[in-house]
């Protein structure tokens, strides 16, 4: 059930990025406000307390951006889907190449089709290889 909810949240995040950014900001500001209050209770002045709270929180905008990006990520591993798309492209390109081979070679458009098919196959091959690098994921 929570997987379904995560998927719904993913689509919501894509449709309303501004609302998500505001929600994330509100949540992070709440944390800083709570920390500020705790610092005041521990004897700091309000200015010192707020400064200390911001320092202990870290890079606010960097964290906010990271949270927004995670909300916009697919709620499942997208690699099998991506691999499926590459295979589909390779199949279509291969089919086109076979079809073009059976057309007489004096036909210029057939040669162009073969070149396009080879280019698409090469593109799909190298894109697939690049995604094997774990740092790219």
């Amino acid at each position: 059930m929570s997987r379904i909810k995560a998927t719904v949240q993913f689509f919501h995040a894509w449709r309303h990025p501004d609302q998500i950014a505001l929600e994330v900001e509100e949540e992070l500001q709440f944390h800083i406000a709570k920390r500020t209050l705790a610092n005041i209770e521990n004897g700091m002045t309000p200015t010192e307390a707020q400064l200390a709270a911001r320092q202990s929180f870290g890079h606010f905008h960097q964290i906010k951006t990271e949270c927004c990006e995670i909300r916009r990520d697919l709620p499942f591993d997208a690699r099998p889907i991506r691999m499926g798309i590459y295979i589909a492209i390779a199949v279509v390109a291969g089919g086109t190449a076979l079809w073009a081979v059976n057309i007489p070679h004096h036909n210029v458009s057939a040669i162009l089709w073969q070149l396009v098919a080879i280019a698409v196959l090469a593109r799909a091959f190298f894109a697939g290889r690049r995604n094997k690098n774990p740092h790219c994921y």
């Binding site: 949540e27 709570k34 920390r35 964290i63």
Partner: protein, 110 residues
């Protein structure tokens, strides 16, 4: 006896968040406080780093969130453990115990 602040191993934060939430729903600030409390103030989480961790766990479906009103009447986002999160916590605890046991065994070897 002075307590040295322990740094967190990679992946440990997820387990600690799940553990903190296994005791009840909490907002982000409360999770940090609870982790410090249950570890007797030994484990201190970098406050900001808690949130990307929370968002990742929510994306995996191990926790879920809901906006509610906090004890000081402010709107806050509360997190709670899901059923799959509870199962994941059991798995992570078992893995951790195995790893800690193996490390201790290695350290005691003469």
């Amino acid at each position: 006896m002075s307590k040295s602040k322990a740094g967190l191993l990679q992946g440990t934060l997820d387990m600690l968040i799940l553990k903190a939430l296994s005791l009840g729903a909490l907002h982000g600030y409360g999770i940090g406080q609870r982790i410090a409390q249950i570890s007797d103030d030994t484990l201190k989480i970098e406050e900001g780093s808690l949130y990307p961790g929370l968002y990742r766990l929510e994306r995996r479906g191990w926790i879920e969130s809901e906006w509610d009103v906090s004890d000081n009447n402010q709107r806050a986002k509360f997190y709670k453990l899901t059923r799959s999160g509870r199962k994941q916590l059991i798995l992570e605890e078992q893995n951790w115990e195995r790893l800690a046991g193996a490390t201790m065994k290695a350290l005691r070897a003469s």
